[in-house]
Every structure is written in structure tokens, then in C-alpha cells.
């Protein structure tokens, strides 16, 4: 066991992790632990843009952006956080430009902007051009630019180091009224070096989780193979609650059958959705902004068209994204990558043929609860000193029950920067917390048990069964029946998981072993998500219950908070305690969500 000591350890090197590292690295002794080479992170797959009310091409302001974010999230957004994000969006874009990001330009040489779903002028009057972009590879350019600046600032990376445990210690604290509670404190993390299988302990005053999302819980997903809910699961196992986990975004336009993302920028540039009858069906579901309605609405509308028999294709199981009325030169200039995806993977020529599309699991709105300083909370309001989270792993909550397109690239930049600064500032005055005894015992026991297992179950088989049940039961339409079906399958898979047997017994680059570990994260988080969905007996944003089709503000205008609790046994969901947290309102009263 090797022990390292840093002021700040950042876990994950996507957009949020590297944005944090650029700030923290200039202020404190910082290490970034990442299971991938930084430029492999999935931020690079984001396409369409990053919204900020620069007003470079038409009138706009951050208050409109805040409103759209709150309304887009079906009012489950914490409005103070949304305001911070929309205000700081402008500097976040300008920071990136100054770091070198090659945004597309207006004829005057300013950053160009385009339309995106749910982003409107003056509280919903019409679509507004707010998304700053670099062709349809904005995420790629953000990831590259942040990595370039990490190189510039000599950020210290530990590449292909998997973090497998979060080390915290509990201390009894007495409140002013004499009652006591257990305060968590951050001691560091346990990490596994993929190259040789060695275990490293990183003691740190501050730990920043920036590990991304959980898309691989589902079969059809735009997410990378490596998005396996690691950070959420590690925090949860360490006793930190998870917020709003029932809310998953299904992006409307995944390539049918494959899930590969076709950016909403296609619709921002004028593409429209049609059913098998050639009808532009979004005119019926969102008469004002039509195809540029928020993603949850478009995804549900598409699934409904298919359900009612108007799906296209031989099995009538997808709808069509029509770009054929757009000029080929315009498509080439603004959407080169995604049209190539259609050609490469489906053999469809977007100039002349509509592209088969269907909703694909894209983004987790929920995650590790934080405040606007990116500090992690151990309950509704108690900060865990020294623990921070930013990006998809976190829930601030700026996305509520449905994230608007481009707000994730914004989130990682605004809250990544905040996390990096806060982590370094905390480390400047804090003391190291002593590493608990036998810090690697949990990790080593887990890995050794997997290496020794002769149980005969295959990781891939269990993972496929999980993904298939989640696609069938937990996608855009849910009900008590489907949720309970998913829970039963997950319970069975969790039992079988104990018998997972790996074939690679070596120490070098043992991805067979790590995939088995990742499956454990997926199973834990699938269960939390499903339990949270069972408790939310209403429909809001990305969570649609056919048995409760209306939004119910009276009973459910609340964040869900799920705790790991072996003592808990309610409603057939043993081991998970469900609680709630109030939503923060500042200026917007909930209204019916119409577009």
C-alpha cells in the first residue's frame, strides 16, 4: 500500500474535474485521479452548445435563462442555484474563450449563438439564440481546452487510477441545544492503479467528486461504457444521501437501436421530427415551440407516437428526424459530426433521407447533494467538511426534474470552477483528518473475493439483464407495476452478483475485475433510482408515472433524499430510507408547464 498526501484530490477528469483542477492547481497541492486518460472523458461527446445570455445575436439576459432553467426543470430546481448558474454562465463562456476555446463566430467576430430546446425570450415568448457553440463538437472543444489548460498549469494527473472507496470519519458533535449528531469528515480516498493492480491511499484535506453519470444502468444510452455511477455509489456507501435519483433524462434523438446521440442542435438548426405518416407531430404536443420543447416532453411525445402505432420503420418502433429541407452546406457547416454518425452507423444520408431516432438515456438530474459552493451535504443542510462534488455526479440542484439542453456543459464549468476554488480555500486552513485504521481493507477484501470467486456468474450477463429491465420498466413511461418489476429483477441480480466470477486473474490492466466492480455501482444506483421512482407518486419532468399522470405540488414539490440504511424496511424497499428536502424558491411561483 502506498500513501500519498495532497491538499486537494479531484476524482474524475471530465469537464467538471478539470475545470476544478485548473482553479485548485493554482492555489493548492492538487492531484487528479482519473480512471480514463482525461481526454477520453464523456464531456467530449457533448455536441450542441453551452448557454449563456451574452446577447451577441439578439436580446437576452440571465434572468430569462434562470426562468427557463426553473420551468424546464418543472419547478423542482433550487432557484438560488439556477440564478447562480445563469449569472455566472456569461463569465464561464468568456473564461473558456480566453483559455482558447474556438467558438464559432458572428460576422463581427463575436461568439455566435444558436437556439436550443427550452431556452426562450422573455419567459417563453419564443425560442432565443443563447447557445454558444463550436460546430457540433462543443463538448469536445471544452474537454480539449480544459485539458490544454491543465497542461499549461502543470496539473498533476494520476491516469487510469480507479477510486474505489471514499474515506470518511464520523465525529460526534453537540449542538447548542445539547443534542448530538454524527458529523462526517473527509480523510481521503482509496485508489486502484489499473496498470499494475496496486492499491494507493490518497490522504487529502479536500476531495472533489467529478465522476460523471450513470447511463450504463440502461441498455439504450448515449453514455460511454465507463459511465457506471462510480462517484454516486461511493458517496452513498459512505453514508451520504442521494438526491432526486428518480429523474433521468432520455434524450429524444438517439440513433434508433444504438442510442448514439444526435444533438438537439439539429432541431436548433431547423430539423424536425415526423411520424410514419409524415406528420410533424410536435405541433400537437407543444404548439408554440414545437420540436424545441424540452427533452422530457419531446421524448415522451415520441414514445407516445410509437405506442399509438405511428412509429416508422419495419417494426414501427422509432420516429424520424427530418433534415432534408435544410441546405446541405448549412448541415455541413453546423452539424458535421452528427450527420456522419447517421451515415456511419445507420447508412442513412441525412441530406436526402430522414434519420431513424428514439429516446436514449442521457443524463442523471439527481446525484450527490451539494449547496451552491459545491460542498457535499450529509443531510438536508449539514455540510461534510472537505467534501465537494460538481457536474453530473452532483445535484445542486440546477436541473430539477429535467435538464435543459446545454445546461450540463454550463453546470460543469460554473460548479467545477466553484468546487476547485472552494476545495483549495478549505484546504488552506484545514488540518488533515487522520486516515482510519486499515483504510484499504474494504477495497482489498472486495477485490480478493472477486478474484477468488468460483460462483460462475458473468458480469456481462447480469449487466445486460439489469439494462434490459431498466429499459423495459424505468424509461419514459413508468407505473407502480413496472417499477416493482424492476425492483424484483434488481433484487435477484444483487443476490447473483455475489457469485460473479472473473476470468482474468492477473494484476496488469485487469479490466475484467474493474467491470465487475462497476457492476456493483450500477446495481446499487439502479436500486436507489427505482426506489425513488416508487416513492414519487406524481409525474414531473423526466419522471412520468402512468398511474399518477399529473404533477402534484401539494405532496411532491420536494426533492427526494435516499439514504443507505440497513435498519430501514418500508414499502418493500429494505435497506433504503426515503426522505425529502424542501425546494428553494426565490422569484418564480410554480405554473403549469406549457410550451
Amino acid at each position: 500500500m502506498q500513501v500519498h498526501k495532497y491538499d486537494v484530490v479531484i476524482v474524475g477528469a471530465g469537464g467538471a474535474g478539470m475545470r476544478a483542477a485548473i482553479e485548485s492547481g493554482q492555489r493548492a497541492h492538487t492531484a487528479v485521479l482519473t480512471k480514463l486518460y482525461p481526454t477520453r472523458s464523456h464531456t467530449g461527446a457533448a455536441q450542441g452548445g453551452m448557454c449563456a445570455a451574452l446577447a451577441n445575436v439578439e436580446e437576452d439576459n440571465w434572468e430569462w435563462h434562470t426562468f427557463d432553467t426553473v420551468k424546464g426543470g418543472d419547478y423542482l430546481v433550487d432557484q438560488d442555484a439556477a440564478e447562480v448558474m445563469a449569472k455566472e454562465a456569461i463569465d464561464a463562456v468568456l473564461d473558456l474563450e480566453k483559455m482558447g476555446l474556438p467558438f464559432n463566430r458572428t460576422p463581427e467576430g463575436k461568439i455566435d449563438q444558436r437556439r436550443f430546446g427550452g431556452h426562450t425570450r422573455d419567459h417563453g415568448k419564443a425560442a432565443v439564440r443563447r447557445a454558444c457553440y463550436a460546430a457540433d463538437r462543443t463538448g469536445h472543444m471544452i474537454l480539449q481546452t480544459l485539458y490544454q489548460n491543465c497542461v499549461k498549469h502543470n496539473v498533476e494527473f494520476y491516469n487510469e487510477y480507479y477510486v474505489l472507496d471514499l474515506l470518511t470519519v464520523d465525529e460526534e458533535v453537540t449542538r447548542e441545544d445539547g443534542t448530538t449528531y454524527m458529523q462526517k469528515k473527509t480523510a481521503g480516498v482509496v485508489s486502484y492503479d489499473l496498470a499494475n493492480g496496486e492499491i494507493h491511499v490518497f490522504q487529502a484535506k479536500s476531495v472533489v467528486f467529478a465522476t460523471g453519470g450513470l447511463g450504463k444502468i440502461f441498455k439504450t444510452t448515449s453514455n460511454a461504457h465507463t459511465l457506471t455511477a462510480d462517484g454516486m455509489a461511493l458517496a452513498y456507501r459512505a453514508g451520504i444521501p442521494l438526491e432526486d435519483m428518480e429523474f433521468v433524462q432520455f434524450h429524444p434523438t438517439g440513433l434508433a437501436g444504438l442510442g448514439i446521440l444526435l444533438s438537439e442542435a439539429a432541431r436548433g438548426e431547423g430539423a424536425i421530427l415526423r411520424n410514419s405518416e409524415g406528420e410533424r407531430f410536435m405541433e400537437r404536443y407543444a404548439p408554440t415551440i414545437k420540436d424545441l420543447a424540452p427533452r422530457d416532453i419531446v421524448a415522451r411525445s415520441m414514445a407516445n407516437e410509437v405506442r399509438e402505432g405511428r412509429g416508422a420503420g419495419p417494426n414501427k418502433d422509432y420516429v424520424l428526424l427530418d433534415l432534408t429541407h435544410l441546405e446541405p452546406a448549412h448541415i455541413d457547416a453546423k452539424l458535421p459530426d452528427i450527420t456522419e454518425f447517421a451515415r456511419t452507423y445507420l447508412g442513412v444520408e441525412p441530406y436526402t433521407e430522414p434519420v431513424p431516432v428514439f429516446p436514449t438515456c442521457h443524463y442523471a438530474m439527481g446525484g450527490v447533494p451539494t449547496n451552491v459552493k459545491a460542498e457535499v451535504l450529509q443531510d438536508n443542510d449539514t455540510v461534510v467538511p472537505g467534501l465537494f462534488a460538481a457536474g453530473e455526479v452532483a445535484c445542486v440542484s440546477v436541473h430539477g426534474s429535467n435538464r435543459l439542453g446545454t445546461n450540463s456543459l454550463l453546470d460543469i464549468n460554473v460548479f467545477g470552477k466553484r468546487a476547485g476554488i472552494a476545495a483549495a480555500e478549505y484546504a488552506a486552513t484545514a488540518e488533515f483528518v487522520d486516515i482510519p485504521e486499515n483504510p484499504t481493507a474494504f477495497t482489498e477484501n472486495q477485490l480478493n473475493a472477486m478474484r477468488a470467486s468460483t460462483g460462475g456468474e458473468r458480469t456481462a450477463t447480469l449487466r445486460t439483464e439489469l439494462q434490459e429491465t431498466m429499459d423495459a420498466n424505468m424509461q419514459v413511461f413508468r407505473s407502480e407495476e413496472t417499477i416493482k418489476e424492476a425492483l424484483a429483477v434488481i433484487a435477484d441480480l444483487r443476490k447473483r452478483y455475489k457469485n460473479v466470477q472473473i476470468q482474468d486473474k492477473g494484476k496488469r490492466f485487469n479490466l475484467d475485475l474493474l467491470e465487475a466492480v462497476e457492476l456493483g455501482f450500477l446495481l446499487d444506483m439502479a436500486e436507489v433510482m427505482t426506489v425513488a421512482a416508487l416513492h414519487r407518486k406524481e409525474s414531473r419532468g423526466g419522471h412520468y408515472r402512468e398511474d399518477y399522470p399529473e404533477r402534484d405540488d401539494e405532496n411532491f414539490m420536494l426533492h427526494s433524499m435516499m439514504y443507505l440504511d440497513p435498519e430501514s424496511s418500508t414499502d418493500g424497499t429494505t435497506g433504503i430510507r426515503a426522505d425529502t428536502k424542501p425546494v428553494v424558491f426565490t422569484r418564480y411561483e410554480p405554473m403549469e408547464r406549457k410550451y
Binding site: L36, Y37, R274
Partner: protein, 262 residues
């Protein structure tokens, strides 16, 4: 790119649909996959393993590797992440050509013969298809792959015309997969050569109107291991999964060395 945004005509609410999209069942077929295996923990020698598996018309080489890893031999080892050609993890030699495994459809290969998969060349093999990427990133870091601008920052953005932005558009597409560098015969024989990817990333900044360090990068690349080692073989251009005109970019850097700093 960067044409002024113009209003497209509103598309029709309803159109007549031709019967579209595919022809029912996705065809399946058998492929034989031969993979070069190496794990120094267990043997100093590399070997070829072969599997015959049933795959489908939409499957890529990466899907075939996954099928083997997930269903037959869990020790088969390769890097991958996004699986659609943007993260750059899975560059490998497929039938002798550098490709991303997630971008090569099996049906586009000659499946009557075995599909040969090897690690990319010129970088030390760690295990099976995984190579040590550190020398590759070392060269990348040496060309100063970040914007240097010595003038005081404006409050807003720095102004750049669409034409200035277009000048280096092609080389911003690089995903650092190393397919180009590890396809270059000069790099195979001389690992000190910076290689195409580092030069591409230098190009991205040298031709960015906002950058002030072009001359320093040109000086680095005027080194004996720099651009002059390029023999315009065009392997790099053929290998690039992002369609970057790599050889052209190298030629432009060569020309800049001659005209700008000398």
C-alpha cells in the same frame, strides 16, 4: 462554417412519406476474429488467439471484441469508452490499418477472411491491445498545446473573424487517439519523432489568430525530430478517424517554419 445564421423556410407540417429506414430483420453473419495477445505477467511471448462469433449488420469491431470479452474470454484487454468515435480510446490496427474499433462496421470488412486486430505500432505494448500512451502525450505536451496570449484580456471575448476561425478548424477536431502517429513509418523507426498528432495540435495554435506563441512552437518543430522528419507518406491522413487532413497540416507547418521564423 460560421456563415451568418439565416432563417430556414418553415418545413411542411405534413409530407408524404416514402417507405423508409432499413429492411426488417438485421442480418447476422459469422466472423472470425484474430487478436494479437500479450501479457508479460504470464509470458514474454505474444500469440494470436482466434474466435468465430455470430455478429449483426450494425455491429462494429468493438462489438466483436466485447462479445469475446463478455462471453468467452474475460482476459481479452483493450481500452474503450464512448464507442462512437469521439473519445479516442480504441485506436488499433485492424487488418493492418489504424482505425478506431468503434467506427469500423464489420459488414464493411471482408468477413470471408479472419479480421486481424493488433495494437497500434511504435508505442510499447502493455497488454493485448493496450499500449503505453505516455510517450505520445509527452510529445503533445512539448509543442505547448495551449493558447498563449500576451495582450491584456478584454472584458468580453477576444474578437476573431469567421475566416480567422475557419483557418484552423480542421486541426481542432483531433481526439488524440494516436492513430496517425502510430501509422507513421518514421515514428516506428524513430520514437523520438514528434509525430503527426503533436504537429496537428501545434498547427491548431500556430494558425489561431488569438495566439502569440506560434514562433516558439515553430522553433520546437524545426528541431531534428520535428516536421522535417515527415516524408509525406500520407498514412496519417488515411488513419485519422476524424478526417483531418493531417499531411496537409504538417506541410502548412513546414511552410510556416520557412516563412515565419527563419
Amino acid at each position: 462554417m460560421s456563415t451568418p445564421t439565416k432563417e430556414a423556410a418553415e418545413p411542411a407540417s405534413k409530407i408524404d412519406m416514402k417507405e423508409s429506414g432499413g429492411g426488417g430483420e438485421i442480418p447476422s453473419f459469422d466472423v472470425t476474429l484474430q487478436v494479437r495477445r500479450y501479457d508479460p505477467e504470464f509470458s514474454d511471448d505474444a500469440r494470436w488467439d482466434e474466435w468465430t462469433i455470430t455478429m449483426y449488420g450494425t455491429d462494429r469491431v468493438l462489438d466483436a471484441l466485447h462479445k469475446v470479452k463478455w462471453e468467452i474470454d474475460g482476459s481479452l484487454t483493450f481500452r474503450r469508452s464512448c464507442a462512437h468515435g469521439v473519445c479516442g480510446s480504441d485506436a488499433m490496427r485492424i487488418n493492418g490499418r489504424n482505425r478506431l474499433a468503434c467506427k469500423v462496421l464489420l459488414k464493411d470488412l471482408d468477413t470471408s477472411k479472419p479480421i486481424m486486430v493488433e495494437p497500434i505500432k511504435g508505442l510499447p505494448v502493455e497488454k493485448d491491445l493496450i499500449v503505453d500512451m505516455e510517450p505520445f502525450f509527452q510529445s503533445y505536451r512539448e509543442i505547448m498545446p495551449f493558447m498563449v496570449n500576451n495582450s491584456p484580456a478584454p472584458t468580453g471575448e477576444r474578437i476573431q473573424s469567421p475566416e480567422e476561425r475557419e483557418r484552423f478548424d480542421d486541426t481542432t477536431k483531433c481526439i488524440l487517439c494516436a492513430a496517425c502517429t502510430s501509422s507513421c513509418p518514421v515514428f516506428w523507426t524513430d520514437g523520438q519523432y514528434f509525430g503527426p498528432a503533436a504537429i496537428v495540435n501545434a498547427h491548431r495554435f500556430i494558425f489561431d489568430s488569438r495566439d502569440d506563441a506560434g514562433d516558439m512552437r515553430l522553433e520546437v518543430l524545426n528541431d531534428k525530430e520535428g516536421v522535417w522528419r515527415c516524408r509525406t507518406i500520407f498514412n496519417c491522413t488515411d488513419a485519422c478517424p476524424r478526417g483531418i487532413e493531417v499531411t496537409k497540416a504538417i506541410q502548412e507547418v513546414k511552410r510556416a517554419v520557412l516563412t515565419r521564423s527563419m
